[in-house]
Subunit: 339 residues, 2 copies
């Protein structure tokens, strides 16, 4: 078999897997934002009827996966694999969501890059001939993230202007070897990039260098110009991280005209008191499975470069004085198989 | 391309990737156990010269990966991918270990099944044509695990007889598309199995049903008898979990003659005060990269079924009254490519 590698970090799929179905579930605040119309379910009660925020997050994942399967017309038992991850310690949102599903499970930890990591691995495994149908799922929940990473909600701590708001939401994508598009045509697997940012309330700045590294590597590996894509979109850099990415490219003499960030899109940054925008594994997962894939199906975009961005820190690493390692995985999605 | 699936959960590699090199690093207690001769480095000082247990664990991973690369005669930059994971919140042992390496990174969370999960994914990605060289790394550290999952070391809490001892160690395997064996010929990707065990001090019992499920599925998918393998070995069920697996097979009318557990092998269960044996991602990782692969090279075993076992709980899920989801991924390794 010939190599499917382009350059050092990019793979090109021989038979691009197709996105057979996708779905998402979000909380109240996300449902009050500008992308409300693109969400399958907006739950007014962020507990999702559960006794804890962690169980609520698991329930969101289960609902998103089930809804994506329903739209695809498949049972969970038809899945060859589920790839899933989240931000909680030991990724319990994912493990407890997939428990009871009759399917092989790969647990991932890519922080907020999880949806892109899962899509890339699922596409590699299907294109490699190891199955026909795979799911990629990711989630985050504002309340479970706040109490794990920051302070109890009841404390009501002030948030600095660089902070982002963890999205309450879960997105699920079903990839298939057969069927109509959109297609996953390429993936660029990121390296860990750490430029020494230590402020856990400024994760956009910590992840932006990784996003720049992966996007520029992708363009170089594929010999494409940014304009090849109708939209290049990062996961959750927020407004500050987005500016940093634009600056990096500007220094290279490249003006990214078609670039945006899911964390900027998901909220009304002025009106919803979210400072720099959305974050969390759920952020890019629900924007992808909402506005982005909807827009591709409606003909708004033909080619999207979806770049999941993750900050691989923990409260412990921050307390021990460590800087924040960032990562970004890019997945090229097109309505045309040949792109 | 024809499917490489056998049954629902097993894949057979068309061009089985080879284990080009492997290495391990362990702490003092592991170096006092029966497998001492199979470890590349036994560190008398469990801090590994670092200021925290978490940093010590990262250092172990970095040392194990570097040593495996050295044995393979490759630089880190020659790796197409590293797959790594650990037990720490947000998998910081892995992220901080791979930071600074010039290689694409996939973060995994499979609890103590991580080495098997990483091997399976690395083999799938290489056999799928997406690269030539991939690393799989996993670690655990007694001290970082105790303070995260249980009580501060200084507290000196009593351990119940069903408890296991988290291995301080890291193992790394370098898989290659080219070269002499041993070869990774098959992988069976586990489902999450949860039989309702809620005692976080009895993880062997929680994981044993998953091990039974994956091993019996593997045998059924491949139409092999247990005796096809010279050794079937689980990751870290310990002596109690091992007995449960034997019981399950006994009820099926099968007496597993060639079955053992890495957690039973790594310590002198009577002499080292470890109760039911070893556990942690490092347990199966260092036994595989030590005694097992050494033994294959020396002709002691031709075919091994390496079954990583993970308990996908967190302290939070336990405090919220949840039972413990278990998972097991099995990887078939043979000195013969055609097996």
């Amino acid at each position: 078999m010939t190599s499917k590698k382009l350059g050092k970090q990019t793979v090109a799929f021989a038979s691009p897997p197709t996105i057979a179905g996708c779905a998402n579930v979000v909380g109240k605040k996300e449902g009050e934002g500008p992308l409300a119309a693109s969400f399958d379910l907006i739950q007014e009660d962020d507990t999702f009827g559960e006794a804890s925020w962690e169980k609520a997050e698991s329930t969101m994942q289960r609902m998103a996966l089930q809804s994506a399967l329903d739209k695809t017309g498949q049972a969970a038992s038809a899945l060859d694999y589920v790839f899933a991850g989240d931000l909680l310690n030991q990724c319990i949102a994912s493990s407890f969501a997939v428990r009871g599903q009759d399917t092989s499970f790969f647990g991932l930890y890519g922080a907020c890059s999880t949806m892109a990591e899962g899509l890339a691995l699922a596409a590699m495994v299907l294109d490699g001939g190891f199955g026909n149908l795979a799911g990629a799922v990711a989630s985050s929940h504002f309340c479970s993230a706040e109490r794990q990473y920051r302070t109890p909600l009841e404390y009501g701590g002030q948030r600095p202007p660089t902070a982002q708001w963890t999205v309450t939401g879960s997105g699920a994508v079903i990839l298939s070897r057969e069927g109509e598009g959109p297609y996953v045509t390429h993936a660029t697997i990121g390296k860990i990039v750490d430029k020494g940012i230590k402020d856990a309330n400024n994760m956009g700045a910590a992840m932006a260098p990784a996003a720049y590294d992966t996007i520029s590597t992708h363009l170089s590996d594929t010999r494409r110009k940014p304009s090849y894509y109708d939209l290049i979109v990062t996961g959750d850099l927020g407004s500050l991280g987005k500016e940093i990415v634009l600056d990096f490219f500007h220094k290279d003499g490249v003006e990214l005209q078609n670039y945006d960030d899911c964390g900027v899109r998901i909220y009304d940054l002025q009106g919803q008191d979210v400072h720099c925008g959305g974050s969390g594994c759920g952020c890019s997962a629900v924007v992808l499975t909402g506005q982005l894939l909807d827009g591709m199906k409606e003909g708004r975009w033909r080619r999207i470069l979806f770049c999941g961005t993750g900050a691989l820190l923990s409260p412990t690493s921050t307390m021990q004085g460590e800087s924040i390692p960032g990562i970004c995985h890019a997945v090229a999605i097109s309505t045309q198989r040949g792109d």
